[in-house]
């Protein structure tokens, strides 16, 4: 059962073939057997998950009408607060902190009867592309345990690829949902900014952060998307408009007559040959399904990475100021408040977080603000305009999700720029606030590792990504004779 899709599990629950408690136990068993190797979870809430599952079972046996995913388990990225459950954000700073409130995403998961198995590993405060920046050690890619599962949401993607959970929640500031999905052969969606509430999402970069669904199929992602999306009065940047009909779109995959724009700037140099080959094969499939493939140019995308690495660190330098040992989290040192703050931040934050706080503090300093933060905001506007123009020529835009397949753990740890380049194709959507999806495009010829195909849609037209994604996924699954994860090596109990 754990190898099935979330929708199949939900059907089995509805038919009474299995209970949520049994389904949850099966996943807890898988966690206990394989997570020693994968390290997807930072905290497994066995008791809470089973309690939640039995509540859903009780409701179901009482004949209550339940939401679509009721009783299906899920893995939650450790950056979203859940009342009473340790939330560390992959940082030593928050070790032992149990939040006194639920994030809106968690509230909605609970309302939908989705069983939360535990909290997944991530790069510290979501800063990274490999989970190597987690204070609790890296997660490993189930396709090859010597490789990274992507980041920052590598724990969530790894949990899906190792069948420890059929659904997961990620957050995406510059690609942290989509790049992990790409390198683990799973599906990840960053909704339009404001589509899912950020209330209770521990902020890295407020104007870029967006929570979204991670799954093994496009339809599963769509169901989870609908469960967590919608206007939230507690988040001022939340969009007050109906949620796009993503489930309906995922059920009716179709690209006939659609114009699909290939972004010229997101291919070529720096992209692995096998990744590009798979991307082009997917394009051929879409063309064969009746889509018109057009090339578009977004010339300011060349500056996206630079703009991102000014805006995100600037916001993070302010967002992370609150970690000062005064109210929660660890405390180190003694003496004056200032001394304690200083000593705590010295040991509480890891190297990458400190690097970005310093970068951002510098970029916002008086005398540098206009040159750095100000210019970056202008680039941001230009990138949005690039997208606007491109969407006049195409219904959706596509690119490889990440330039390469999963790299080895340790390979890029000492080269931040090489690490940052992983997100070159995903960052523009965050800067423009639009939606992006990654789904598997196949296994690269060079290394036999999964690669991702990215679909981007205009703001609040998230359904278009699902429509295209579902059509492509169906064809690819036929070609592969089943989901790509069937080819993943089997992880067994040691």
């Amino acid at each position: 059962m754990i190898n099935k899709s979330a929708v199949e599990m939900a059907e089995a629950l509805n038919k009474g073939e299995i209970t949520s408690v049994e389904l949850t136990k099966a996943h807890l068993k898988q966690i206990s057997e394989v997570d020693g190797q994968v390290h997807a979870f930072l905290h497994v809430d066995t008791q809470g998950a089973l309690e939640q599952a039995s509540q859903v079972d009780a409701k179901r046996s009482a004949g209550e009408k339940l939401p679509a995913l009721a009783g299906v388990p899920l893995a939650l990225k450790d950056v979203l607060v859940q009342k009473g459950i340790p939330t560390t954000c992959g940082s030593k700073m928050l070790e032992g902190w149990r939040p006194p409130y639920d994030s809106t995403v968690v509230r909605k998961l609970k309302e939908n009867g989705i069983v939360i198995l535990g909290k997944t590993n991530m790069d510290e405060f979501a800063m990274g592309s490999s989970t190597e920046n987690s204070a609790y050690g890296p997660s490993r890619n189930p396709w090859d345990l010597t490789r990274i599962p992507g980041g920052s949401g590598g724990g969530s993607s790894a949990s899906l690829a190792s069948f420890q959970a059929p659904l997961a929640i990620g957050t995406d500031t510059g690609g942290s949902i989509r790049q992990p999905a790409a390198v683990t052969g799973t599906v990840g969606v960053k909704p339009t900014y404001g589509g899912v509430s950020r209330y209770g999402l521990v902020a890295f970069s407020s104007s870029l952060d967006q929570a979204g669904p991670c799954a093994r199929t496009v339809l599963d992602a769509a169901y989870l998307h609908e469960a967590i999306a919608g206007h939230d009065p507690l988040d001022s940047t939340s969009i007050n408009a109906p949620v796009p009909a993503v489930v309906a779109a995922a059920k009716n995959g179709n690209v006939k007559g659609m114009k699909i724009g290939v972004i010229k700037e997101l291919q070529g140099d720096g992209y692995q040959a096998g990744v590009l080959k798979l991307f082009n094969e997917s394009l051929e499939i879409l063309a064969s399904l009746g889509a018109e493939i057009v090339e578009v140019s977004c010339k300011y995308f060349d500056y996206a990475l630079a703009a991102y690495y000014l805006i995100a660190p600037s916001e993070c330098s302010s967002n992370l100021a609150r970690f000062d040992a005064m109210r929660y989290g660890i405390r180190n040192g003694q003496g004056s408040a200032e001394e304690v703050m200083n000593a705590t931040r010295q040991i509480g934050f890891g190297r990458e977080v400190k690097r970005r706080i310093i970068l951002g503090t510098y970029a916002l300093s008086s005398g540098y603000y206009d040159a750095y933060y100000g210019s970056a905001q202008k680039v941001r506007t230009l990138i949005s305009r690039d997208f606007e123009s491109a969407f006049k020529l195409a219904d959706v835009l596509v690119s490889p999700t990440a330039p390469t397949t999963a790299f080895k753990i340790g390979e890029k740890s000492n080269d931040p720029i090489a690490m940052y380049l992983n997100d070159i194709a995903t960052i523009p959507t965050n800067l423009a606030g639009i939606g992006g999806m990654s789904l598997p495009s196949g296994l690269a010829a060079e290394d036999g590792l999964p690669a991702g195909f990215q679909i981007m849609a205009p703001a609040m037209k998230d359904d278009l990504m699902y429509k295209v994604g579902a059509a492509l996924e169906a064809e690819l699954n036929t070609k592969w004779q089943g989901p790509i994860l069937n080819s993943a090596p089997k992880l067994g109990a040691k």
């Binding site: 607060v81 409130y101 902020a203 407020s206 302010s318 503090t361 933060y373």
Partner: protein
């Protein structure tokens, strides 16, 4: 020997800049739903948002924006069709997020003015104080420094943090540089804060209690030699907790600056703390090296874009300006300028008005609030409005005097008892046994006793020596423990002795 103020203004011209912080009287905080009651137990009015817990997000209090627009309109400001919040970044333990959500380069109200009048030996003088901006921000929590002798952070053993105040909506009203007040600078500053307070009170946007910190004034002062173009170095005085202190603090700073300048020393750009007891300021934080607050637009909030309709609606509901209202009251009550100024200075105008509205005669109402009650307030060093006596109480007392049921002297006892919290007027009269003795028979008996005790005096009165009756009246009053109406005693006595 401190320099004399006259010597300061003979040589230097002061420039002022006043920053007034006002806590808005909204029921909930600026960015969350927490209560804003003053004096609640520490940390009981907090939530994830105002504690800055990881993941929590702000949502703007719409009422606070409406209040701020009302303030801007009352101060003749332009209301920005689009303004934003910004983050002011600095570390301090009582600031939960280590940034203050404030407004920076895009404030909601700009370019206004406030006209004030001061009463001087040369007659009344008008000044226009130009307002640079009115913007919104959130208040910080409070640090209580424990174990030290001074209650200040220096020398304390540890500190306690109370976040009840964190996130309370604040409005900051900043003047442009105020020139040309000369020797009247301290009074002009006081009159400005006083007028501003009346406006804010009239708008109902704040309880404007300086002593509780819901209205706080930072006074920037600098001096330059008369005739010089270049502004001098300024100091910023904080902890100015009353109108009187505004005036005193500025006067004291002007003298301090002049002494430094006269002895060729330089004025340091710094914050100063005003001390009520000494009337002097002491050095606070140096501002020589401008702190870099790394302002940037608050990404968790959307811009504020009030509609023209909303602004028009608020403008339509603005109350009468205090200056207009005062003029009307003065005419209605037929009060001379001096008396009017006295009521404003004692801050009893609202109370007098309320008392008059309840039927009291304006002259009586004014003399009670400015006389006995002001005296007691002064003794207790509190505002008359904070005493346990209301306009209704005073109106009731006055009514009893008019009816002859209380004498002025008895009324003073009642007022004192009211202030001591002894209950209602009726209850006080009952429990204290206060009543005017007007029963003629008991008075007559007392008069007989007085005459019997001093027959020679009575004889003098019978013989036409009216002034001699004073001794007998005094004896009767003493006999009645002061409760008799002296005028009535006199009438009865004289009649009895054939002189009525």
């Amino acid at each position: 020997m401190a320099l004399k103020f006259e010597d300061v203004i003979a040589k230097y011209e002061p420039a002022l800049g006043l920053e007034v912080h006002v806590e808005l009287g909204t029921a909930s905080k600026m960015f969350c739903g927490c209560n804003t009651v003053f004096g609640a137990a520490a940390n009981t009015q907090t939530c994830p948002v105002c504690l800055g817990l990881p993941g929590a997000l702000p949502v703007v209090n719409g009422k606070a924006i409406e209040y701020t627009i009302a303030i801007g309109l009352a101060l003749n400001c332009s209301i920005a069709p689009y303004s934003r919040f910004a983050r002011k970044n600095y570390f301090y333990p009582d600031m939960p997020k280590n940034f203050q959500t404030s407004q920076y380069d895009e404030p909601i109200c700009t370019n206004g003015y406030l006209d004030i009048t001061i009463d001087t030996d040369e007659g009344s003088k008008d000044f226009r104080i130009e307002i640079e901006r009115v913007h919104m921000e959130e208040d910080t929590g409070k640090s209580l420094h424990m174990g030290g002798a001074t209650g200040r952070i220096h020398g304390a053993d540890y500190s306690l943090l109370d976040y009840n105040r964190a996130g309370i909506p604040l409005v900051e009203i900043v003047t442009k540089v105020v020139y040309g007040c000369g020797k009247y600078a301290p009074e002009v500053a006081r009159a400005y804060v006083s007028e501003l307070r009346d406006i804010l009170r009239g708008l109902g946007v704040s309880d404007v209690k300086m002593e509780q910190g819901s209205l706080r004034c930072d006074a920037n002062v600098s001096l330059r030699p008369i005739g010089s173009e270049k502004l001098g170095t300024r100091s910023e005085t904080k902890n100015v907790n009353s109108l009187k202190s505004v005036e005193r603090a500025i006067r004291s700073e002007m003298i301090r600056h002049a002494e430094l300048l006269n002895s060729n020393q330089r004025v340091i750009q710094e914050t100063r703390h005003f001390h009520e007891d000494t009337g002097l300021t002491t050095s606070g934080r140096s501002k020589e090296q401008a702190e870099d607050y790394r302002y940037f637009p608050e990404p968790d909030l959307v811009p504020i874009a009030p509609s023209k309709e909303l602004i028009a609606k608020i403008a339509a509901t603005l109350p009468e300006k205090p200056s207009v209202r005062r003029k009307k009251l003065q005419e209605a009550w037929q009060v001379p300028d001096k008396e009017m100024a006295a009521m404003i200075n004692a801050d009893v105008l609202d109370l007098v008005e309320a008392t008059v509205k309840l039927g009291a005669d304006p002259t009586r109402a004014r003399s009670w609030w400015l006389g006995e009650i002001a005296r007691i307030a002064n003794e207790k060093a509190v505002a008359a409005a904070d005493l346990a006596i209301s306009a209704a109480d005073v109106a009731e007392v006055i009514a009893l005097i008019v009816k002859g049921e209380l004498t002025d002297k008895l009324a003073r006892q009642v007022v004192e008892a009211l202030i001591n919290g002894e209950g209602s007027v009726a209850k006080i009269i009952e429990t204290r046994g206060i009543k005017v003795v007007s029963d003629d028979s008991s008075l007559m008996a007392a008069i007989e006793r007085a005459i019997a005790a001093a027959p020679d005096v009575a004889e003098k009165v019978r013989g036409g020596n009216i002034p001699a009756s004073g001794a007998l009246i005094g004896a009767v009053m003493k006999d009645s423990k002061g409760q008799a109406d002296a005028a009535k005693v006199r009438d009865l006595l004289l009649k009895h002795l054939g002189q009525g």
